[in-house]
Amino acid sequence: MFRFQSLDEDCTLEEEDEGQIEEEDGIDQFNDDTFGAGAIDDDWQEEHKRLAGLDRTGLGAGLGLGGGGMGGESDLGGAINSTHLHSSAGHLPLPSSLKFSSSSGLPLPDMEDRGGGGGLAESLARLILEADPAIAGVGAAERPGPSSSSSGSSLSPLQGLERPRVLPQPSCIPHLTQSHQLPHHPQHQLPPGPSISGLPPGTSPMSMLSYQQQQHMLRRGTAPMAQMNSHSIWENSMGFGPVSVTPTLVTHMEDSPLMSIIKEVGLPKRAPQGRNDEARDLSERVPPPRSSSPVIGSPPVRAVPIGTPPKQPMSHALNHQIHHPTAVHVRAPIQHRYPPPFPERVSPNTLLNLANSPLCCGPFPPGVGPVLSQIQRAQLLNSQVAGFPRGGPAAPLLPGGGGFRPFFGGPPPPLGHRMGPPPPHCPPNHTPPIRHNTTHLHPQHRRMLTQRMQNRGGEHGRTGGDRRSRDPYSNLMSQKEKEWVTKIQMMQLQSTDPYLDDYYYQNYYEKMEKRQERERDSSKKEHTTKLITPQVAKVEHTYRPVQFAGSLGKLTVSSVNNPRKMIDAVVTTRTDDEEKREKQVWNKRRQILYTVEKMYSLLLEVQDFEKRFVQAPEEDREVLLEQHKSNTVQLCNSLREKEWDDRVSDEQCVMIMSVRKGKRLISRLLPFLPSPQSAAVVMAISRNLPALAKKDKQDQVLCWLVEPVSAVILSLSSSALTDLLQELQGNEGQLATVLHNKFGVTLLYLILSEGERMQSSDSNCQLMDDNRWTELVFSVTRELLSVPASSLSPPLFTPPNLLSLFSRYVDRQRLEVLQDKLQISSLSR
């Protein structure tokens, strides 16, 4: 890639090739999409200077400055315009010169030798025409040109080259703040000549300059703006002309064949312009293109904060044309066609580019342009709306604008949403039918809307129009601005996944449609409506960090697609062991909970069986019964640890009971279990009571188990009961802990009471067959006596027959002690 290296020291900016430019455009476009390309960097100082200069020096001075116009060394680096302007005399930053000068500040020696004139002009013309066929084409096309010409000279492109020196003057005048620039002008007459020939033929001019330089040049390039000042239509056409034309050529074009036309077109305009000087609002000036480094991914630099609506259609468009010259390719014929108001999948930028190119002249004719202040513009619009001229600025401008229409290749058709000057025969309040973009809406919604709109018709419009015509401050917000805001709002409606983004909306309209379908035809057909909503292609804008050539590392630029990291979140990871342990614990708990949940659902089914069975009709009952059985079986199985093991697993029970919910579950489950299993569960409970008690410390819900357990106990056989008591006693010291626990004590009492009941009621019960029972009771009593009263937990209830039990086994004295301790009295029955 041909790099045009600037020798300027303060050029710190990189050189980008075309590919990067395109890339940047793409990314920048999306950035611009954030709030549209509404905001324009408006260097008011430049504008002011230019305008002030224009005002002061006027035509004559411009002409007098002669060949300085074409010249103009400029800093090819990224130096700021104004400083440069003031610092180095004779700096006329004309793009043409920028483009070709190889060094800043040094007039090419050849230049001084030539006095300008034919030879140089010819070589220049040749180069230009060679370099870009587009220009040649344009030049040829535009040769049969302008209607009026004050100079009256024939307009051959070559001859016109002599003029370039003169013509850009008016545009450059603002930069010539002082006359000190004058003496240097001759140096800068037509510098490009020799250097141009030096260039390899066929090298695209675009490639000759780094993007930076182009930008810089454009920034300082007054030509485009100046042309607007001169109210020439050519500036616009050149701006949007064969877009393969690079900006440099754009500006260069002004110099060469078309300058003559510009001159003719532009110069006569100066008189009316002068009149409007005072009225001119400087803030309406077209802003120069961006000067600072267009780093990839960064939103465009804006002197005006993001969110500012566009000020001028022209400037806006030109801005973007220049920024994204590759954005619109080969669109020369198309630009005169008006695109639909809100085409889908078109970024606001390109949309504006398209829309603006023909709209440059409207609602104001190109000649009018930036002259009017906001108020005047509004007034003009008012007048147009009202249908009668308001005098003053309105009258002379309209005819002036009309005359230039032919250059655009035909009168622009009125765009639907534009407030163009209505045809005279139309009623003053007639607004052309507005074409809305309703593709984002659900088709049903769209139908309803169109119906509604048709019904309402123009009733409101008329009255509103009347009112507004009388309001001198109306239409302060231009059409462009309204569109811009609307565009932003529309963007928010675009969605790549409508079902995700707007679920209720979609569903509502679908239901409505279905309802209508059902109403329309009574047959019960299922209409599946296809949803047609615009789907915006998901464009992945990956952020590629920008890197300056020759530097180490990459520059991080935050943008919409690459947001800046705001918080430095530090992830604290535990060591592996701890993590494993914690994980295990959590996994286990999760497992338990999961089991409990499953069992619960089964249990609930089982519990509800009765109710369902009763309500079910005859034929379903058997099915229900089967289901019930299977459920019960499943429940039992779940208590087993392993599939093949028949016994109730201790560990499983304990595991389940370690959770509060599990305890509850067991308490509800026990009545439904078959007796051997329920007995086994109770055994397990008593066996592991200390552990359970410990786990229950927080919840204290073991007592939920009392009722079901007591029910189970009642059904136990004597041997089983003995076993149970034995289990409860367990190892050394277990009984102590048991006694410490409320549930334990209760359980103990239950067992004892049951035993006593057995003994007393059934004479030939086998409880006394072996000594086990007696021994166990003895040990219990021993424990009870030894244990201090404080550590004895009060039971839930005291069975009445304990006294009789104890009376069997202990003597009176001990019995009394026991009585006191346990607070059992003969009366507690």
């Binding site: 507005i434 109306s474 302060l476």
Partner: protein, 133 residues
């Protein structure tokens, strides 16, 4: 005409007389001239209307720019609708005086209430501070 049919937009409200209620309780009436994507509003020939009881007063304010987030509600004023209101318009001085008195009495009652609550050991945070937690 709605530029974006099927949606709500302020575009159609431009150049019409509106009444806006702000978050700080002010009521403004003016011609809506410009909007932006944040619903920041530009009002022209704005008048701040203060209501105290059955009286109200209008203070002309000129051009107002309201930041969108401070708008509670915004409504178009129908110029054609007959204005049959029981409210009585008074001069600015009078309404400001009325407002001052109203604020004063409100503050006094508030103070008494707070004192009573404090005696009972309760404290209810003032509603106007809730926004800035």
């Amino acid at each position: 005409m709605n530029y974006v049919p099927g949606t709500a937009s302020l575009i159609d409200d431009i150049d019409k007389k509106h009444l806006v209620l702000l978050r700080d309780g002010r009521t403004l009436i003016g011609y809506l001239r410009s909007i932006d994507q944040f619903a920041n509003l530009v009002f022209h020939q704005t008048v701040e209307r203060i209501h105290v009881g059955k009286k109200f007063g209008d203070i002309p304010r000129g051009i107002f720019i309201v930041r969108g987030e401070n708008v509670v509600l915004l409504g178009e004023i129908d110029m054609e609708k007959p204005c049959d209101t029981v409210l009585q318009q008074v001069s600015i001085e009078e309404i400001l005086e009325e407002q001052r008195l109203q604020q004063q009495s409100k503050q006094e009652t508030e103070k008494v209430k707070m004192l009573a609550l404090k005696d009972r050991g309760l404290s209810i945070p003032k509603a106007d501070n809730l926004d800035e937690y």
